[in-house]
């Protein structure tokens, strides 16, 4: 499947019937560094020295210097789901662990795979395994999501 970088996929309508267990979501990717982190720090009011200052990050035992904030990757996981499922998607739950640091210059690839599908009442729910993989193939942010999708109405045969 292709890869996306922006919000261009949002708006497309994806229905429960279009999805199968095992489907890989089109990955969403981003090269990261201070230009992304500074913007995110500004909107999330997240001005910790380890995200801005190389010497502070080295003192905190990250020899490569300033590193990215986990919450930005949390947003990137949402970006993947929004890009895949469109505006009708209803993200019910999203969780992740911050397993590895986002270093300056990392090219992050956000991935997702459908692991389950179920109908609960009127809800058509899809379970998704998520991760943010760096350019070395390292898993940095394993996670999961539950997304409710619209269901395509089935056509009834006319009674003859």
């Amino acid at each position: 499947m292709g890869e996306t970088t922006g919000g261009e996929g949002v708006g497309a309508r994806l229905c429960f019937e279009d999805v199968s267990v095992g489907d890989e979501l089109p990955a969403w990717s981003r090269e990261t560094g201070l230009v992304n982190w500074n913007r995110f720090a500004a909107v999330n009011d997240e001005f910790y020295d380890v995200h801005m200052d190389d010497s502070a990050a080295r003192a905190a035992e990250n020899p490569q210097g300033a590193f990215g904030m986990g919450m930005m990757r949390f947003s990137y996981l949402h970006n993947l789901l929004r890009s895949w499922a469109g505006e009708d998607a209803d993200i019910r739950e999203l969780g992740c662990r911050y397993r590895a640091v986002n270093q300056k210059g990392d090219v992050l690839r956000v991935t997702g795979r459908v692991t389950g599908m179920r109908i609960e009442g009127d809800d058509h729910l899809v379970d998704i395994a998520l991760d943010v993989i760096n350019q070395d193939g390292e898993s940095t942010t394993p996670g999961h999501a539950i997304v409710a999708l619209a269901s395509r109405p089935t056509r009834r045969r006319p009674v003859t």
Partner: protein, 162 residues
Amino acid sequence: MSAEIRSLVTPELEARRGRWLRERLSEPVSASAIRRWAIACYWPDPPPRLYWDAEHAAGTRHGGIVAPLEFNAFTWPVEPDAADSGLETDALPGLRSMAGGTRDLYGVPMRPGDVIRERARIASWEQRETRLGPTLFIYSETEWTNQRGELVRTRFITSIRY
């Protein structure tokens, strides 16, 4: 015979377990803050129109602009709020911190004009021996409701102190 592991838990932390520690109201959510959040999250590409184009957003199932679900409605207070850095920070002096994980359960979306009520507590913790030495995993819960009393989200945060 195993050596006794030093507990990192302080009486101040014990006293906070399970109590709602922080209750506050946000400023009204603004369309401008939503737009800037979306731009930052998608930088350098443009964000989805749902977050900044009122005309487009009116034609979606949301009927208008909504905030990205993970949007932070509590930013830039005039008075710095010490609790922002973690409910446990001043109860664990001298320990370093690291983000362990985040899990959100979502209710209704945030819209321009919404005022969010927050309450937060430390639910529990556990201490483990890790490569960092004795390490505390602290599990906290933050609940957001809007001005109509509707649940916006519940966030579970794991913070690591070592």
